[in-house]
Symmetry: C2
Subunit: 526 residues, 2 copies
């Protein structure tokens, strides 16, 4: 059911202030209209979240895990209505959205496993040493506890996997934090369907209603009020740098500053080393153009920058990439606003004195379509004008010709923090790559070889993060199981009676989780 | 040797701008004078740190561990000169400083063990699944890497354990980060002796000189310039709330914001439950007064707030605590400034309409001595005036009478974030305590029973941290092995050739460390 409600826990409310969204593929308005949540709705949702927090934080591992699985099941149970609505609201094709639903559901189930397994508790015990001199050691036991209510901002480019029940929500709920989602105004119907699936899981799991609320809206004021609310203890955000910086500012200015996990912008440099370029330049060009134009290039990890050494092989690569790009079909972008920004960014590069346009894709045949764009410049110009290194969200990329490896290293040293760096290399390139990898590791969250940065695996070893301004907090990831750490903090318990201790650190390991005792892993740990 | 130098790596420099410090016990100036580091010194130190970073980050585990042990050995080798100088500069007694030296050295050695053991790397491997459908999974491997050069601000109250070679320095060096210490102006001679011990260990370990620099100085400008320097990637600080907030502001306003780990202020509530109060009120009073007045109360975890239910037993407790406190001898405080602040804070409580002075300690017999102070008020007044809950650094505490457990819970709910909460309880109090513990766990970093919060064990399970404003970042600790996490961030490696991978995540586990493979611990892990 989609009726434009705000969901404050189990309570569905309508607001008089409304907004609508459009189908970007047609430009037509979609029905129904949606409630625009106001500050009263924010207060109601955060108060309910705070009230629900102690009980939710105290859930045992199987209960919390089963709740995450119930959300997954409820999302699947929406059936094709979810896919159809998401297609209409995002312009994304069916196969992509079906895949994204699978990822969203898989992510919730993975976090259910993580919750059950219990490593996230980091249960640590230093037993008392009563006979130690000069002073005895007390009994000390430590676990991670959830930080409190978390505000999640859905992203436009993944209306399922990074939105209402996306990675931020899944990891915050897994940590034991109630979640208040600020719905993205571009896909409010999709958002509402998923929000109702979560609210139903809260109810069927016997959890307090405040564990989840959903605030649709199309104003910055709504997001600002949510981050400023004193009951909110952390923020998850995926979106533009401007949006992320605004939330960081609000969070820093609170009476109690709180962490903001904002995944913002990245141009994801790809370094094509000489031997690889010589051996398989046209294969690399094909992979590049495919990664660049897939989904209209609307990925955080889109390859927006190619670095290579000036050479006849690079000339051939540029020609081949241009030829392939010029044959790509335009694709509908997520929103008219995103499309307008893309066109503006492409226009700025196309008219830049130091930039040559290599190719554009096939002309647009409908509203809001991205026509791929490939540019080139040389390293000295790229180094001279930081604007050339700014993200153009969509299928636009710039090839930077470097004189030699030193100049290439200089370009890397001048880059802002990035989500990814990609190496296209053959065996003969490995010595050169080996010297660059430590430098890249200081600047990015993920280094990959002979692949493309788009496609972010949801697993234990993934880092979808990186130094500022790729994210607001380079110590974390927003994809993969490590994302749960963002919503936890450690608490130590000293000399507490067994019955007063958290179950996770009681003698006998009642939850059968991995623990460290005196710095050494317990034998019974899984 | 103490000659007032700035240490920029291996280079000892003198500045023309000088400062001196006093012996707080006598009020007399100490020789020599010390260089006041300026912005040029900051730039030189941070540039050298950045240059040293790649090589230091790449050290293998035994090399880095041996370096930490060499620092410890060099500190011991200074011998009694260190203790004598620290006594003169801090007014602290010999036994305390000898104990603190042991703790400092033990802390460095513990971090050496941590480095060797390798858990801090959080080595995680998700092997490729080439046959997975619809898409194969790439090979993904993740480790933690150091964030970069770290600025450390020494604290006045632990001239060894929280200063030049204290917990922040030890954990940052353990993580692989070069350290630049801004020396505390109250103990510059002690600081220089320890700084030279570290610099000597850098040299004898064959590490680049920029791994450690030492900037003495007595201006806020020095600290501000250090935090603002673009090469600095994180900050460790222990000190006043005003100082911590100023550094947080500077860090947030940088072009690249960086994390600040500031341990600032806490009044460390102690809840005395009814059965415990009835059974052993005078024993609790004795423990309380001892914890309150030890070291002139100059501990972050000093018990500045007692909560108990109004009763004849509380009257008796108050009388006994007052009797004991009035017999305590005054102790020299660390600096004239700290002493003046203490007297001002005590005076504000003594003249507050809603506050009764229970007792003061024996009168002062020399300069800068803290005369203990014990106050009482009731919960309604405490709730009405937040100023009554502000830290008075030193041996001052306030007893708050609560009507009943509900009112006591209300006081707790109104408290700011704290480092610790202490429960004095007997078996009959456990049900009441059990309802309060989850509430306390949201507000503090450590909950302890039937002990006193002073005395912070350096171990794996310790949390010396807590929600803002106890610290700037409640997700961390500044004492114990977990402190290393503050200076690390995760990086993922996808499909890298074996020789290009970090050794920690290569096949065959060459470093023999604990790793997770596909979410499960490797059998070979220690």
């Amino acid at each position: 059911m989609i009726d434009g409600s705000i969901l404050i826990g189990a309570d569905a409310r309508q607001a008089t202030t409304r907004f609508t969204t459009v189908n970007p593929a047609t430009g037509e308005s979609l029905t129904p209209s949606f409630s625009s949540a106001d500050r009263d709705a924010v207060s109601a949702a955060t108060a309910l979240a705070q009230a629900a927090f102690p009980a939710y934080a105290a859930t045992d591992l199987p209960t919390r895990a089963a709740f995450l699985e119930a959300i997954a099941d409820n999302i699947v149970a929406i059936g094709d209505d979810l896919i159809v609505r998401a297609m209409a609201e995002s312009g994304l094709p069916r196969a992509r959205l079906e895949g994204e639903r699978g990822r969203t559901v898989g992510q919730l189930k993975l976090f259910a496993q993580v919750v059950r397994q219990g490593d996230w508790l980091d249960a640590t015990i230093d037993p008392a040493l009563p006979d130690r001199t000069p002073l005895p050691r007390p009994d000390l036991r430590r676990i991670n506890v959830p930080v409190g209510p978390v505000a999640v901002f859905g992203a436009s480019n993944f209306p399922l996997a990074f939105s209402v029940a996306g990675g931020d929500t899944a990891s915050a709920l897994a940590a034991g934090c109630p979640v208040i989602v600020k719905g993205h105004p571009a896909h409010p119907g999709t958002g509402e369907l998923v929000a109702r699936a979560i609210a139903a899981a809260v109810a069927s799991s016997g959890l307090p209603a405040g564990v989840f609320s959903y605030l649709p809206g199309d104003t910055n004021d709504l997001g600002g009020a949510l981050v400023a609310d004193p009951r909110v203890q952390a923020v998850g955000f995926t979106g533009s740098r401007g949006g992320g910086l605004a939330l960081m500012r609000i969070a820093a200015e609170r009476a109690q500053p709180i962490p903001v996990y904002a995944e913002m912008s990245s141009i994801n440099p790809v370094i094509v080393f000489p031997a690889a370029l010589a051996a398989r330049g046209s294969e690399i060009a094909a992979g590049f153009v495919q990664s660049l134009t897939m989904g209209a290039g609307q990925f955080c990890t889109n390859p927006g920058l190619i670095l290579a050494l000036d050479s006849p092989e690079l000339d051939a690569f540029v020609a081949e990439a241009g030829r392939l790009l010029s044959g790509t079909q335009p694709l509908t972008m997520l929103t008219p606003g995103i499309h307008a920004s893309f066109d503006k960014g492409v226009e700025a590069l196309a008219t830049h004195d130091a930039v040559r346009t290599i190719a554009r894709g096939c002309p647009s045949a409908g509203p809001n379509q991205a026509v791929g764009a490939l540019f080139e410049t040389d390293a000295s110009h790229f180094l001279a004008d930081r604007a050339l290194g700014h993200e153009v969200f969509g299928s636009s990329s710039i090839i930077v010709r470097c004189r030699d490896l030193d100049e290439l290293a200089q370009v890397i040293a001048g880059l802002e923090g990035q989500l990814t760096a990609t190496l296209q290399l053959d065996a003969a390139d490995e010595p050169a790559a080996a010297t660059l990898i430590p430098v890249l590791a200081q600047r990015v969250g993920r280094i990959l070889a002979n692949g493309w940065p788009t496609g972010v695996e949801v697993c234990h070893a993934m880092v979808h993060g990186g130094p500022y301004p790729a994210t607001s907090d380079g110590r974390t990831t927003s994809v993969g199981t490590l994302a749960i750490d963002r919503f936890l903090r450690p608490v130590a318990f000293q000399n507490l009676a067994p019955t007063l201790l958290p179950v996770a650190v009681r003698d006998g390991n009642p939850w059968d989780i991995a623990r460290r005792v005196d710095g050494v892993r317990e034998a019974s740990a899984r």
